[in-house]
Homo-oligomer: 212 residues x 2
C-alpha cells in the first residue's frame, strides 16, 4: 500500500504546466474567460494558487495563452473534419455547417469574452488578433484552392474570407446571446458564399445536390 504511484507525488514541470493549461481551457469553456482566476485554476488542478503563479508569469498571460489554445484547437478540429472532403465546395459546406453548429456555442462564448476583455488586456488583444488572422488565413487558403481548381470564382479571396468570418461571427454571437435564431439564419452564410464565389444557388445546401 506504500507504492501508490498516483498518491501525492509531485509532477514534472512539463506535466504540471500541461495540466494547468488543460484545466484552464476547461474552465474557460465551462464558465467563460473571466472565470479563469488564479484560485479557480488552482482549485481545479488540485494545488495551491501559489503553484499556478509559479508556473505562470501572470494571469493575463495565462488568459491569453488559454484563449489561443482553445481557438487553435478549434481550427485543428475543423481542419480534420475538412480533410476527407474531395472538393472545395464540399469542404466549404462542411466548414459552414461545423462553424454554425450548436456544439460550438462554448467556443463562441469564449470569443465574445475575448473581444470584450481584449480591450483592457493588451496580451489578450494580441492573441485575439493573431487567432483572427489564423482563421482568415485558413479559410482564405480553402477559397484559393477552390479558385485554382475552378470550383470558385473570386477576385479577392482574402476579402471574401473576412466577409464570411464576420457573418459567421455575427450569427454565432446572436445565437449564443439569444437562442432560437440560429436555425433560421443558417442559410444566410450559404447564400452569401454562393454569391461571392460565383456558385449556382443551392450549391452549398446541406443535402447532396452539387449541381444538376
Amino acid at each position: 500500500m506504500s507504492t501508490d504511484p498516483s498518491a501525492s507525488r509531485r509532477k514534472a514541470p512539463i506535466e504540471r504546466a500541461a495540466e494547468i493549461a488543460r484545466r484552464s481551457q476547461e474552465i474557460a469553456l465551462d464558465e467563460g474567460l473571466s472565470a479563469l482566476t488564479l484560485r479557480a485554476v488552482a482549485s481545479r488542478v488540485g494545488v495551491t494558487p501559489a503553484l499556478v503563479s509559479h508556473y505562470q508569469p501572470s494571469m493575463d498571460a495565462l488568459v491569453a495563452q488559454t484563449f489561443g489554445a482553445i481557438v487553435a484547437a478549434e481550427i485543428s478540429e475543423v481542419a480534420e473534419e475538412l480533410a476527407p472532403c474531395e472538393t472545395s465546395v464540399a469542404a466549404l459546406k462542411t466548414l459552414i455547417d461545423s462553424l454554425l453548429g450548436p456544439e460550438r456555442s462554448a467556443v463562441t462564448a469564449v470569443w465574445l469574452d475575448a473581444w470584450s476583455l481584449g480591450r483592457r488586456h493588451p496580451a489578450l488583444a494580441v492573441e485575439v488578433g493573431a487567432q483572427m488572422d489564423a482563421w482568415q488565413a485558413f479559410l482564405a487558403e480553402l477559397l484559393k484552392t477552390g479558385c485554382v481548381r475552378g470550383e470558385f470564382r473570386a477576385i479577392d479571396p482574402d476579402a471574401v474570407a473576412w466577409q464570411l468570418l464576420a457573418i459567421i461571427d455575427g450569427l454565432n454571437a446572436h445565437a449564443v446571446v439569444r437562442y432560437g435564431h440560429a436555425q433560421r439564419l443558417r442559410g444566410l452564410v450559404r447564400t452569401v458564399a454562393e454569391h461571392e464565389l460565383g456558385l449556382p444557388p443551392g450549391a452549398l445546401d446541406s443535402g447532396d445536390n452539387p449541381e444538376p
Copy 2:
C-alpha cells in the same frame, strides 16, 4: 459671494438620479461596461459611493439600465437620421451607412461587453435581449413599410431584419477588435440587403443612383 447657487447645494432626487444615469453612460462609452463601478460613477458625479448606492438598488441594475439607455439612445439617433428620408430605399441606405460608420465604435464596444457580461448577470441579459428585440423591431418596421410601398420584396421581413443585424454586428465586432477591415467590408451588407429584398444591384450604393 454667499449666494452662489451652484456651490455645494444638494440636488433634488430626480436631478441626481438623472445625473448618475448620464455620467454612467459616459463611463460606459469611454471605458466600457466593466469600468462602471460604484466608485467610478461616484467619482465622476463628484459624490460618495454611498450616494450612488442610495439611488441604485445594486450595481447590476445600474449596469443593465445604463446599457439599455445607451442602446435606446442609439436607436433614437438613427431614427432621427432616417426621418427625412422619403423612400424606404433611402432610409435603409442611411441606416446601413450610419450603423457601419466609425463613430459607432464606442457603442459597438458596449455591445460586446454586454454580450460577454450578460452571461453572468441576469439583469443585463434581460436588457440585452430586450434591446436586440427593439433593434429588430425597428428595422423590420422599416422593411415592412418598404414592402407595402412596393420598394422591397421580402417574404419574411422579420427574418431579413435579424439577418442584416447579425451581419452588421459581426462586421462591427471585427472593426472594433481589428481596425482596417471596416471600409473594405462595408459593401457586404448592401449586397446582402439587395439580394434579400429584391433590389437591383447597386440600389443601396452610397452615391445617388437609385435605378436607371
